[in-house]
């Protein structure tokens, strides 16, 4: 037996209680120090794999298993969790529930102290773990007072103090903002480089882990769809798409432009270390060699244009629906936090506006002011020229609909239909009108079939659609989506944005989207507002804003890969205000 082989699964089949088959015929081997990335759409079996490795299945989620699982010489099925936890550490998505002690120090000590590790050793491990995640000096902080990225790093450190030989990371960055993702990614990278730890990580963010992965496995409905080195797996873009996995944009671009010569490197190579610069250079060479030609016109934009205005206060011929005039918001402390500073903006009817910025930049505060949930301490918000200060939130919901990031904060009734009816009843819609309007709203989001189902049983994506239906049923003129791509896989990530687009196209609605997803903005928004420290940093047509790379960087916003490439290729005559790969393909013809 290979002594370095630390993790082995052979022909594993796992079925949850309730007869849900989650994994089928899965085989996987990993050696000491290897980084294994597990990809797949939601429901593909990624988390189940993590549970099997860490013993969570069957100790917390029961079920039936066939095949062999060996983690550092033990079968987690047969050992109690406290034994498995000494060889296999687990970090999950949500940092909130993984931190439960009063200080970082006690949090880090929790695991080893449960195992009776001597105090001095615990302190040594804690110090080392904190240093590894770059949180030295924060020992006495309450985990609740940390940023999202810090929380997840603290949770990671608390796993590391158990000194596992295998680390299982189940979508550790999916609930973080870009800065948080970067911080955690950097910590994982340091871990990877620091030694012998075997890491198994599930994710949807293929771009972020590509350079770290030794082995990639793609799951599809519990079975292995693809497996191999990153170069091997990512060369199969069509199969990845079929399995609902995002192919990194740079690879996708090359496979299309250079007709399958994916990386320019040997397919057998283990790593892919691609950068925008390298790809731009490759394009440049191809253009110089005459293999590629540059057409210097931007193809027709897929982005919608504002509908024509017809009355009321106008801006460039469009009705101004929402307006913020010098609004400031301060949250009482201690310490008091200024969330918005003298922000002014106008949103016209028919616009699709993207709002980006770091957590804490004021995005959520701004939209809460738009719907009347928050009253600015200074300044005024207007809807259709009328101040909303005196309008109750319930009344505002018929004008501006806000769909929050987490649908579970609102769903409580026995059926989807009731959920939509609830809002209609609250705003005083006549009883005979409620049923048809609720049914229509469900039809619009494609949930008619499940109208009688308990909302909690729907998938996360469908629960979000239901929240949209409940909002749209109130027939607002403006729809605001908060992070429409959160916790969605590659295939489902634009479902909500598509609904918003239809609201725009078919009903002339106005849409605002708060997001960290620049691809989403590139595909849907005709205008982009960047908030930074409670102020508007940039505001203009999306393509123009994306070219302001330096200013965007201050707000941790990285333009879409297509824009980055276009900027690099500008000397060749490529228009820099390109936003999507389709536009870039059209400009670069062979």
């Amino acid at each position: 037996m290979d002594e370095n082989k630390i993790l082995s699964l052979q022909d594993v089949i796992f079925t949850y209680e309730g007869e849900v088959v989650a994994l089928q015929n899965l085989s996987l081997t990993a050696r000491r120090g290897e980084f294994v990335v597990v990809l797949g759409a939601n429901g593909a079996g990624k988390s189940t794999l993590c549970y099997l490795l860490s013993g969570i299945a069957p100790h917390i989620y029961g079920g039936r298993r066939r095949g062999i699982v060996s983690v550092a010489g033990i079968d987690p099925w047969d050992e109690p969790l406290y034994v498995t936890s000494q060889v296999c550490g687990t970090l999950m998505q949500d940092p909130e529930v993984q931190l439960f002690m009063p200080t970082i120090r006690t949090e880090l000590a929790f695991g080893p102290s449960n195992l009776g590790v001597p105090r001095e050793e615990i302190l040594r491990r804690s110090k080392a773990a904190l240093s590894l995640v770059r949180m030295d000096g924060l020992e006495e902080r309450n985990p609740r007072d940390l940023s999202g990225g810090q929380k997840q790093r603290a949770a990671l450190a608390s796993v590391l103090t158990m000194q596992p030989r295998v680390l299982v990371l189940d979508e550790p960055t999916s609930q973080l903002d870009p800065a948080g993702r970067w911080e955690v990614g950097e910590a994982i990278e340091r871990l990877k480089r620091s030694g012998d730890l075997t890491i198994v990580m599930t994710t949807h963010e293929t771009e972020e882990i590509l350079h770290l992965a030794d082995q990639v496995i793609v799951l599809e409905r519990g079975e292995t769809a693809l497996m191999g080195t990153p170069a091997e797996v990512f060369s199969q873009t069509a199969r990845l798409e079929q399995a609902g996995v995002k192919t990194p944009a740079l690879i996708l671009f090359q496979s299309r432009v250079f007709s399958g010569r994916t990386t320019g490197k040997n397919a057998g190579e283990r790593k892919i270390t691609l950068t925008v610069d390298e790809v731009a250079q490759r394009v440049e060479s191809a253009v110089q060699a005459g293999e590629l030609k540059v057409r210097q016109t931007i193809p027709a934009s897929p982005i919608p244009h504002p509908a024509e205005g017809n009355s009321g206060t106008e801006k460039n011929g469009h009705t101004i629906l929402l307006e913020a005039r010098g609004i400031s918001v301060q949250y009482p402390g201690p310490p008091a936090v200024t969330a918005l500073k003298d922000v002014s903006m106008q949103v016209s009817q028919g616009e699709i506006v993207g709002i980006v910025g770091q957590n804490g930049s004021g995005k959520s505060t701004l939209v809460k002011c738009f719907v009347g949930l928050l009253r600015p301490s200074k300044g005024e918000v207007f809807f259709n020229g009328e101040s909303i200060r005196k309008i109750p939130v319930g009344e505002m919901s018929r004008r501006v609909g806000l769909v929050l990031q987490n649908p579970d904060y609102q769903l409580f009734t026995a059926s989807c239909l009731d959920e939509v009816r609830f809002g209609l009843r609250n705003v005083g819609v006549a009883e005979e009108e409620i049923q048809p309007r609720a049914e229509q709203a469900l039809r619009r989001v494609g949930l008619s079939e499940v109208a009688d189902l308990f909302p909690f049983r729907l998938s996360f994506g469908d629960r979000r659609k239901l929240a949209v239906a409940a909002t749209l049923a109130l027939e607002p003129q403006v729809l605001i989506l908060d992070e429409p791509t959160t916790a969605q896989d590659h295939r489902g990530r634009y479902q909500l944005a598509d609904l918003a687009k239809r609201f725009h196209d078919e009903q002339g609605g106005t849409v605002l989207m708060i997001t960290h997803d620049v691809d989403l903005i590139a595909h849907y928004a005709n205008r982009l507002i960047v908030l930074y420290n409670g102020q508007v940093l940039l505001d203009g047509p999306t393509a123009e804003v994306f070219t302001q790379v330096e200013k965007l960087r201050r707000s941790f916003v990285v333009p879409p890969v297509a824009t980055q490439l276009a900027i690099k290729l500008a000397p060749l005559g490529v228009p820099p205000d390109i936003m999507t790969l389709d536009q870039l393909y059209a400009v670069l013809g062979s």
Partner: protein, 270 residues
């Protein structure tokens, strides 16, 4: 929902540094003291302890607004006590305000007596004494200190863990509560604008149902997080926090007991 006003504040005052068990003893002695049977003449005893508590608050550098908040919370009780004792105190004989005469057993419910109001004031002081000790403990003792003190009191580790982690999750619950209230407001269901009766019978369902479902869903992840860190292992856990008693702790302990004994002697000895 208002966030808690009496939260721990990290300061380096002697009261913050004081051994949690000494502070806990002060809290317990306060409870004993306020449960002594009471007469109007007992006011000096209550004032001594209240003064003592005020000194502790001052040394702990607790902001004045926290005390104001405490008074605001108690104002309803104070009004109730002054009125009810004013009308019904059995030792009351000097009319202060007379509305008429309505005799009911021992009391004349039409008259507010001077002795009744004074006794009501004594009771207000009693309540103030009772309510001022625990906030001091909470505001000057970090959870880790409470945790260690619980260990010293031989409280089982599981109970300590449950208490500490539950306390830690309260922040998350406040956030969740706020988000759910906002989410329902966005559907024209505004709990803040409802009257007491409507709120009691109608308002909590759309808030509590999603909250509990969400909470129980999160509970699985919490279970995973603690069990994958060895919780429940049949091993004696290592004590991380070392809580040593300093000479100052003994001095404070002696002082607190001395004040308590003085009060007790004044109460029963005189």
């Amino acid at each position: 929902m208002r966030a808690p006003v009496f939260r721990y504040t990290h300061l380096g005052t002697p009261i913050h540094r004081l051994h949690p068990l000494v502070k806990f003893l002060y809290v317990m002695l306060t409870l004993v003291l306020v449960m002594y049977p009471i007469r109007i003449t007992d006011i000096p005893i209550l004032l001594i302890w209240l003064g003592f508590s005020a000194v502790l608050w001052l040394i702990a550098r607790i902001e004045l607004r926290r005390f104001t908040t405490l008074m605001k919370i108690l104002v309803g009780t104070f009004i109730f006590l002054l009125l009810i004792q004013g009308f019904t105190y059995r030792g009351g004989h000097t009319p202060l305000i007379t509305f008429g005469h309505l005799r009911l057993w021992e009391a004349d419910l039409g008259v507010i007596t001077r002795e009744g109001v004074v006794f009501g004031l004594v009771l207000c002081v009693r309540i103030l004494v009772a309510t001022s000790s625990l906030p001091l403990f909470v505001m000057t003792t970090p959870t880790s200190g409470i945790m260690t003190a619980m260990g010293k009191l031989r409280i089982p580790q599981t109970a300590t863990f449950m208490f500490v982690s539950a306390l830690s999750f309260t922040t998350l619950l406040f956030e969740m509560w706020g988000s759910i209230v906002d989410a329902q407001k966005l559907r024209a269901f505004d709990i803040d604008s409802m009257n007491v009766i409507k709120r009691a019978f109608k308002a909590y369902i759309p808030i509590l149902t999603p909250l509990i479902l969400l909470l129980f869903r999160k509970a699985n992840d919490f279970q995973i997080a603690m069990e994958t860190k060895g919780f429940g292992a049949p091993i004696k856990p290592t004590e991380i926090e070392v809580l040593t008693a300093r000479p100052a702790d003994y001095a404070w302990l002696a002082f607190i007991i001395a004040v308590f004994v003085t009060c007790t002697v004044l109460k029963f000895g005189g």
